[in-house]
Symmetry: C2
Subunit: 367 residues, 2 copies
């Protein structure tokens, strides 16, 4: 199946000496070797990917890298969240050394969030930091995890406990890679895209309302636009608050205080991140309404858009009770010795951070 | 035995938002709690140290931290280079979590280079980076490894292969901690101090010549001056080239191209870093003489100063042959696919980087 070509667009994440471009387009993977060769004094390229991704894209990948004339190797890691682990990380190090990796090597993270997180972490600490390129292959990674330089592995005590802030040298978001993505994974990306719509405001939100059908069909032009706009918004926020030192990067947590609790209570397997975020976004909108901020009609639009892309809007659709999720949030709060703080949408395009939420409001928002 | 008090002096390592002070003095450990409490929103303090150091200093450490009213814990790690390993690192992470460490925690690296390297690395990746304080307890750490933010662990394939550049929030160099240091470890520090003398020039070098006797006796005023000047020089170089991107930080490698090969050929146990550096420094001076740069009388002064602090000046004193060391350097060169580059002293206070060295010159310099 041939897709209509999507013109490649470029966005710059401005971080002084650590600035980098995000290239969004159809078939940009073909330029990987070209971009790698643009970096200074590259000795070799090592691609970290999963067997699943490799099974689809090993040929175009090899073609793209062959053109650069740079020696390259591939190292496969498992696909699941459990791969973000100490043994998988150190296995990467040993393979890098076996491949003759040195300070001039370039790592390519070719996959979804898991591959990006662990490969980015490996790049950040191997020989005190080598260069790396993100080639996200899921919608969620293209609109979220591949942007911002957060890397991590998990410990048995919790997720993402060990990691770095380490920006890639560039990001190649190839829309055509999304063709092989299962619908459920596409949907997980939609939830974050709706979040960006709520952060950005009326224009993007309305575009999503109008394009929801095409988005569901995986229309490459709509996906391209959505990845581009999401990258622009996240890139802008990261530029202002690279290391989460201020409240700026907290904007990205819209809906996520709920979502984390929902995911944990649902067990990470049963409820996808996207489902949890979708429910969290509507809960945040309703909480804002209960605070007297968001108009009822806007809350309704948020719920409708979530349903248009076939995501759950209510907690009951996930088989969870508000009490359980609230308890999980309280537990999290206690662990962090802090107060429960929420990022809420005052209206589309205007967020506010508040810790003035009553238990009754929480329960109503989640019902 | 009471020492004459050494006035506390402060040096600033200028690195923009990552700038930090180095405090040098007698008894500055007592201010640890005070300085930790100066940092913003500290939740708790976790000290990483070795059983050896703890056996000497657990009481003053506890006293210093108690004054801050901050909760604190201590985690012991083995003393040797083999402790810079994956299991010891992950053991630190698990203990940090058991101690309730969070983003507000402050790590204290209380020990020599090994403790500083691994604790600094742990701080740099725990929850994507928490604050840390270096309290170096050896002369080598006070004049060298505690300054500059290089952290690392070893892999079975080699030393310092995994690490970060991660600056501490401050360094407390307490001269009085050097009292319990064995002579052999003090001498290892002397070699680096002589290196700084050669980098800096006539004034510091002459001071070392005049104070060598007192240095050997561990005179705290002389040690204080030496730590202060060394910190100033290394801090200045690191400020200009934090991540070893240019030739500036290469200055610190004076004598070390030889030293690394000598250490490897000698087995890391038999020949100390200081012994290897001492021989390397004189070899660099002689190589410079052979290139027609350094005066014979200056080469002689370098050799004399090395002998004054009871360090070996000649390879033969270590029971090694020039051919073996040259072969090791060639092997290293091949591995790095580069040329053998030397930092040489043109005269005291003036370094030059060159790769124009003949095998005959190398052999003569090492004889």
């Amino acid at each position: 199946m041939k897709h209509a070509p999507v013109r490649t667009r470029s966005i710059r994440v401005s971080l002084g000496g650590r600035s980098y471009p995000i290239l969004v387009g159809s078939g940009v993977l073909a330029d990987l070797g070209h971009h790698a060769a643009e970096l200074r004094d590259v000795t070799n390229v090592i691609v970290i990917t999963s067997p699943h991704i490799a099974s689809f894209y090993v040929s175009p990948l090899q073609r793209a890298l062959s053109e650069s004339k740079l020696p390259f190797e591939m190292h496969l890691i498992p696909d699941s969240e459990t791969a973000k682990s100490e043994p998988v990380l150190f296995n990467i190090f040993h393979h890098l050394l076996r491949f003759g990796a040195d300070r001039g090597s370039v790592l390519v993270a070719f996959g979804g969030g898991v591959v990006g997180d662990i490969a980015g972490f490996a790049a950040s600490v191997f020989m005190r930091g080598i260069r790396w390129i993100q080639v996200p292959t899921t919608l969620l990674a293209q609109v979220d995890s591949a942007i911002g330089g957060k890397t991590a592995i998990n410990l048995k005590e919790g997720k993402n406990l060990i990691g770095t802030f380490y920006q890639p040298n560039f990001v190649l978001s190839d829309i055509s890679l999304l063709r092989t993505l299962p619908m459920s994974e596409l949907a997980t990306g939609f939830a974050e895209v709706i979040k960006y719509g709520m952060i950005e405001g009326e224009n993007l939100f309305r575009y999503l309302e109008q394009s929801a059908g095409k988005l569901l069909q995986g229309d490459p032009r709509v996906l391209g636009k959505v990845v581009l706009e999401s990258s622009r918004i996240k890139g802008r926020i990261v530029s202002k608050d690279e290391r989460e030192k201020s409240e700026i990067r907290m904007q990205l947590n819209l809906g996520h205080t709920f979502a984390h609790a929902i995911e944990r209570e649902g067990g990470y397997r049963k409820i996808s991140h996207g489902q949890a975020v979708a429910v969290g976004l509507l809960a945040a909108a309703r909480l804002s309404y209960l605070k007297g901020w968001m108009k009822a009609s806007t809350v309704e639009r948020v719920g409708n858009l979530i349903r248009l892309v076939r995501l759950p809007a209510k907690l009951s659709e996930l088989g969870l009770k508000p009490e359980v999720v609230i308890r999980a949030m309280e537990h999290d709060k206690k662990k962090k010795k802090g107060v429960l703080r929420f990022v809420l949408p005052k209206r589309l395009g205007a967020l506010v951070v508040t810790d003035k939420i009553t238990p009754v409001q929480l329960k109503l928002a989640l019902r």
